[in-house]
Symmetry: C2
Subunit: 223 residues, 2 copies
């Protein structure tokens, strides 16, 4: 059975990407990154998702992105609650997906996994530059330049199966593949008990996706 | 004064790259990565080098690459002492420079530094794929695709001023720029007191460089 490394954040998209990787026949090695995110519910959700979707293992690598700051998700900057505006929002974390994929690539090389799955998508999203197809393509190129395996012709593939799906399409796909979205966590600004705020960009996009998909929203919102 | 982020490992090459960045007129922000390397002398050397060469600050970001293993520098694999053989040696750390540059890029974006210096070179080196000009070029491209700054046209430049220099040329350049190489640490397999082994690839390349440059070697070798 071929191996794949799947980046699993604990959110809805990466859970769906993991379900797709399993459907594609891979032995899935789930990777989460503890990057000093302000709220820790994501990592608990990631572990639950990895187990639920039959990952062969789930590993957490720590990278202290708080040491560089610069984002509402790692620094003392308020998460916006008024909906998406113009441009890239303050929840953007500088070079986050590049750093995460780099670690996934390193682990993939060690595991002899040549397929890396990432749940980025560029339709119903926050406009982050590192969620676009151009980024995924550029990463696949550098993966095969930066590594021993790539240079030796044992080619890495970067798979972003959600890249051109709407949030509703992602939710329908995951539902068909048996994803229990109640296990996932999307909120940028959760209540102390983990309840979703319902107002941050991530909650808004998620809620609209369930509405449009016609799938009951299992999210536990803070009262 | 424009800012640059300079990756400083504590070794000879990155110390020279820092001296070049300062000569080029940048306010230098030195970045070291604590990646779980088996010996810790590197990080002490990096701090000493950053101070000696007038960096505006020195920051250490932790990334636990031990969690993925796969290298003699992070895992329980013996460091070779018989000289360079065929192919890429076991001291290769999967996706290391890609991960380090990704973090440097993130910090550069936060600092509004658009120049990233890295001391890689592809002449007297261990054959690591992530030290070659192709890699540096690919990283500059992805830096401008992956980031808010890059997408908004505030372009990042990746500077690898040593890329086509021999070790002897690097040592002469650094000596001209006032680098005190006694502060630097290259050995992969140091004695408990930090003395260099003189037998690993890194020691061999370093020692031959001083010989060829005609510069007295200040390295403290283990007796």
């Amino acid at each position: 059975m071929e191996r794949a490394v799947v980046l699993v954040s604990g959110g809805l998209d990466s859970a769906t990407a993991l379900a797709v990787a399993r459907r594609d026949g891979f032995e899935c090695h789930a990777l989460s990154v503890d990057y000093g995110q302000r709220h820790r519910f994501e990592l608990k959700a990631a572990a639950a998702v990895a187990e639920h979707l039959g990952a062969a293992e789930h590993r957490v690598v720590s990278v202290d992105l708080r040491a560089i700051g610069g984002s509402a998700l790692t620094d003392e900057i308020d998460v916006p609650e008024s909906g998406l505006g113009e441009g890239i929002p303050v929840t953007y974390v500088p070079a986050r997906n590049l750093t995460f994929l780099s670690i996934a690539l390193g682990w993939g090389e060690v595991l002899r996994a040549r397929d890396l799955y990432v749940g980025v998508n560029a339709v119903d999203y926050s406009g982050y530059p590192d969620c676009r197809p151009e980024f995924v393509g550029a990463f696949e190129r550098i993966a095969n330049i930066a590594t021993k395996a790539g240079v030796e012709g044992d080619v890495f593939r970067v798979r972003a199966p959600l890249i051109d799906l709407t949030k509703a399409q992602i939710i329908r796909l995951g539902t068909d593949l048996g994803v229990d979205y109640a296990l996932t966590h999307s909120c940028y600004n959760p209540a102390p008990d983990g309840g979703a705020c319902g107002r941050c960009d991530s909650c808004r996009i998620r809620r609209a996706g369930f509405d449009e998909a016609g799938v009951p929203d299992p999210t536990r919102y803070a009262s």
